[in-house]
Symmetry: C2
Subunit: 164 residues, 2 copies
Amino acid sequence: MRVWHDEVVRPDGAPGIYGVIHFANVAVGVVALDDAGRILLVGQHRYTLDAYSWELPEGGVNPGEDPLGGAQRELLEETGYRAAEWRELLRFTTSNSIADETGVLFVATGLTAGVAQPDGTEELAVRWLAFDEALAMVDRGEITDAISQIGLLRVALERAADGR
Amino acid sequence: MRVWHDEVVRPDGAPGIYGVIHFANVAVGVVALDDAGRILLVGQHRYTLDAYSWELPEGGVNPGEDPLGGAQRELLEETGYRAAEWRELLRFTTSNSIADETGVLFVATGLTAGVAQPDGTEELAVRWLAFDEALAMVDRGEITDAISQIGLLRVALERAADGR
């Protein structure tokens, strides 16, 4: 992550300085669903907010990976699960007034359990939850992470269209 | 906006450095709806992404303002509209792996038109769109801004629950 400051001409013609926080990695998030309609959430203390946060499995794409490969690796590392089916759900930008971070959400199904491989900077809890309960956590302010909210809300809309 | 680096003990006991991008202002976004179910979108070139972006009216809360006051001011400045009814929709955090930015989304109805007052750093287009068309822009990758996606998807879910 780097911070740039560029001298520019503003739309009104005056000189200005724009700061851009440059993200080296694309963000990925995974809506991992089992056949019973449950969703996999990951809990961790977020240092930035000094708060415990329940979220989708998420992370950054490594150099040389594509977003799908990064999503598959993050799901495996954080939860131990592999998925047979993957589909892209949505692309997004997180803080476009000051940062160039982009991200991709995937839906993963056909899950098989394995052993999680968190790195040393992460202390993670993993939890299966009924999908509607996870959605209720968004409304109760218990899931605040934007990427998680987008993934949960977009899939909730699909489920509503299917009459679930 | 400031960047902090803190020396910490990681969960695995090893020393580590956490960087936190500190945001001085809470973000606000407004889902502004008219009686015909149309939504107000704002278009602008986003310097960070070097791309044109259609979004909800959004901005940062000024010192001394509460989020509702900031949302009302941003809607007025960017679009010229005032709203008779306001309700809080959702709270969120944008990039919690590296930043402490938080935000609040509101739904604004009972709109009356006035004169927009963009500041010198903004060159904005304003557009009314059928709500479902704005939602389709999310799915087509034409609305990528996370705050806008959360607001649109959350209201879409309300509309689905109401059978619209």
